[in-house]
């Protein structure tokens, strides 16, 4: 059976994505910086679903290593899902360039680096799919988190271009825009329950959208309408707001 490559496998969303694909019979490559921290998940998935699962060391900001990482995968994955993401306090980013650079490099530059390589391979073979987990924060820059938001905006634009380019090669690209998700990344935030998705629901939404060949999804889906409103607030009003 075919392999799926999950990049950024330590996050709560990645854990649930791996489970959903395993449940549906796919074998899994889990790629992340710290292999040790992924062993429990690999063991969990093997017990549950009897599929093959391999751990691969991968550092998304070590751009130079990406080509050889991909070359070394014996069976090439039929699908790649980039979940890697980095969010720190906006204030922190404003005061500390390293934090800003890390945000941009994890969320955008690194993702572009590995996806360029994979997209070229998929294009030649005329098959495969790519899923990028971006964010609603990329839909409009807000003072509360525009460093993170702009890195996700760039990633969304990249995925849009990639989708356009690969359309003729029958390679499907899905952009995922989660709103609030109840994860380790957001545990310090006081999130409104009605607008907050659980990681397993996000994973289910991703699997379904990918199987159906959708282009862009919001999860929870209500975020499509929230962002529609936010995007349409005139700038002369928006610039005075605190949201």
């Amino acid at each position: 059976m075919s392999y799926i490559l999950i990049i950024g496998a330590k996050s709560d969303i990645a854990k649930e994505i791996a489970r959903v694909y395993a449940k549906n019979g796919y074998n899994i490559y889990l790629a992340g910086r710290d292999i040790e921290s992924m062993r429990d998940l690999a063991n969990d998935i093997k017990i549950r679903y009897n599929i093959e699962i391999e751990l691969k060391e991968f550092d998304i900001i070590d751009f130079g290593s990406h080509q050889s990482f991909y070359n070394k995968l014996e069976v090439k994955p039929i699908g790649t899902i980039v979940v890697a993401g980095y969010m720190s306090e906006q204030k922190e980013c404003e005061e500390n360039w390293t934090e800003t650079l890390n945000t941009i490099n994890v969320n955008y530059t690194g993702a572009v680096s590995i996806l360029n390589i994979i997209a070229n391979d998929y294009e030649i073979n005329k098959k495969g799919f790519i899923v990028g987990v971006s964010s609603v924060a990329g839909d409009r820059g807000r003072k509360a988190n525009y460093i993170y938001g702009s890195s996700k905006a760039a990633f969304s634009a990249y995925l849009g271009g990639l989708r356009n380019r690969l359309f003729e090669s029958h390679v499907h690209v899905l952009t995922v825009k989660p709103g609030f998700v109840n994860t380790k990344m957001t545990k310090e935030l006081d999130l409104p329950p009605k607008l907050t998705a659980q990681p397993e629901d996000v994973a289910d939404d991703i699997y379904k959208a990918q199987q159906k060949g959708k282009s862009i999804i919001y999860t929870k889906s209500i975020w499509r309408y929230i962002m529609l409103i936010i995007k349409h607030i005139p700038e002369f009003i928006f610039k005075k707001m605190s949201i």
Binding site: D40, N43, N182, K184
Partner: protein
């Protein structure tokens, strides 16, 4: 994130801390906060609510499975539904399961839950080989079947510590289907006779029409059955309906409940009939509707579940059903079950006898009615199930649980009473 229980009452503000690792948990436990573990929020009342909550569901790895012995080792946040999904296709099922599969392993131990087969298999603790627990001092200990910690923790409502992982034994099955017999009875006498007649079958549960009056009191549909043996284990999670918002409060009234009960009862043919139904239909009919708690409106609801000793069950139930029927307060669901012998755990609910569970919308006059029911329950030496409860008084609770002093002392001796508390534990003083 703010968490609430299944009854959506009381609706309180709280802060939840996700259980991610033992190290992180230890830091939380050693802080000066009072805590209560919380699983998937399916207990009805305030037993897992407090200002600070340890949210255990994200702690959900399967750790090991031995397909010789059928023993599964998993973390406490694993849901029963996840075990069913992974193991029914391999021919294994839970030895004991409640009427929802959307509860965590930690919750199953803490409530020492029971199912339709209590008269044969007992409580959940019967299938627990051992578990690990983080205590009030941050230490981790393995609890085995004869330990006092085992007796106090199974049924102990999360008040002895945070359950980290457990080894539970599964049972072999050879089908995803259950051969079910449905018996329609006309009154309580017939209902009891039917229960006794079919007590040899492992699974039984009765659905009682609470609004029936006079000679019809206690009329029911009794469903009994056992697993089929056809080798079909092709189990898939079934599609679910969703209740997307809270129903307006007038949606549920005596008339609508009456109509529902009537339809449900009418649907079945007279006397006995046989069906072949799947695991979800037989064990978890309500799980088919996501958020079914919303039909009671945003004011919330509660479930009143009590158990009476066998020799007085008939008289007690008759009196209680009569009182409910007279009150006109609708219960959407009333479930009657037969129980086998109780166990040694300090706070496990089951004793040998019959229990009835009824749902009530929270409304004016309800708690007065429930107080009245409490009196009848105590008169017949019964007790209330903490997992469902949100309002029982300290006095009523204590009278039902003779081991309560042992439990209190154990908590005090181990400084658990200063660390692990829920709104419920404070109300009933445990």
């Amino acid at each position: 994130m703010n968490l609430n229980s299944w009854g959506m009452y009381p609706y309180i503000k709280n802060k939840s801390i996700s259980l991610e690792s033992r190290d992180r948990l230890k830091i939380e436990i050693l802080s000066d906060k009072e805590l209560i573990p919380f699983g998937n929020g399916r207990s009805y009342g305030d037993s897992a609510l407090n200002e600070n909550i340890i949210y255990c569901k994200p702690y959900n790895y399967f750790l090991d499975f031995d397909d010789e012995s059928g023993i599964l080792h998993c973390q406490s946040g694993v849901l029963l539904s996840e075990i069913i999904e992974a193991f029914v296709p391999k021919g294994w099922f839970l030895k004991v399961t409640p009427g929802t599969k959307l509860i965590t392993i930690g919750g199953a131990v803490a409530s020492d839950i029971h199912g339709k087969n209590h008269h044969v298999e007992g409580c959940f603790s019967e299938c627990v080989e051992e578990f690990t627990l983080m205590l009030a001092n941050g230490e981790i200990t393995t609890c085995k079947r004869d330990d006092e910690l085992f007796l106090a923790t199974c049924g102990g409502m999360g008040l002895t510590g945070v359950i980290l992982d457990a080894k539970i034994s599964l049972k072999k099955i050879n089908s995803k289907y259950i051969n079910q017999t449905t018996i329609k009875t006309k009154n309580l006498q017939e209902t009891f006779e039917a229960f006794e007649k079919y007590a040899y079958l492992p699974y039984s549960v009765a659905w009682i029409d609470c609004l029936a009056k006079d000679e019809n009191i206690g009329k029911c549909l009794l469903m009994v059955g056992d697993f089929a043996d056809d080798g079909n284990l092709d189990f898939k999670d079934s599609r679910k309906l969703n209740i997307p918002f809270n129903f307006p409060s007038f949606a549920l009234n005596t008339l609508s409940v009456k109509a529902f009960n009537w339809l449900y009862y009418k649907k079945s043919p007279h006397g006995e009939s046989k069906q072949k139904v799947d695991i979800d239909t037989f064990f978890y009919p309500l799980d088919a509707i996501n958020n079914w708690n919303r039909i009671y409106g945003k004011g919330g609801f509660t479930q009143y579940q009590f158990i009476l000793p066998k020799d007085v069950s008939y008289d007690g139930l008759k009196e209680i059903l009569g009182t409910i029927s007279k009150s006109g307060k609708g219960s959407f669901l009333a479930v009657l079950k037969l129980y086998g012998k109780g166990n040694e755990n300090y706070l496990s609910f089951p004793i040998e006898g019959y229990s009835l569970a009824l749902d009530f919308k929270i409304e004016k006059g309800l708690f007065e009615l429930l107080d009245k029911l409490d009196e009848i329950v105590l008169k017949y030496n019964g007790r209330i199930y903490l997992t469902k409860d949100v309002r029982v008084s300290k006095e009523t609770f204590e009278k039902g649980y003779p081991s309560i002093e042992k439990f209190r002392k154990f908590r005090k001796d181990n400084k658990m009473d200063k660390k692990f508390n829920s709104l419920q534990s404070k109300r009933v003083g445990i």
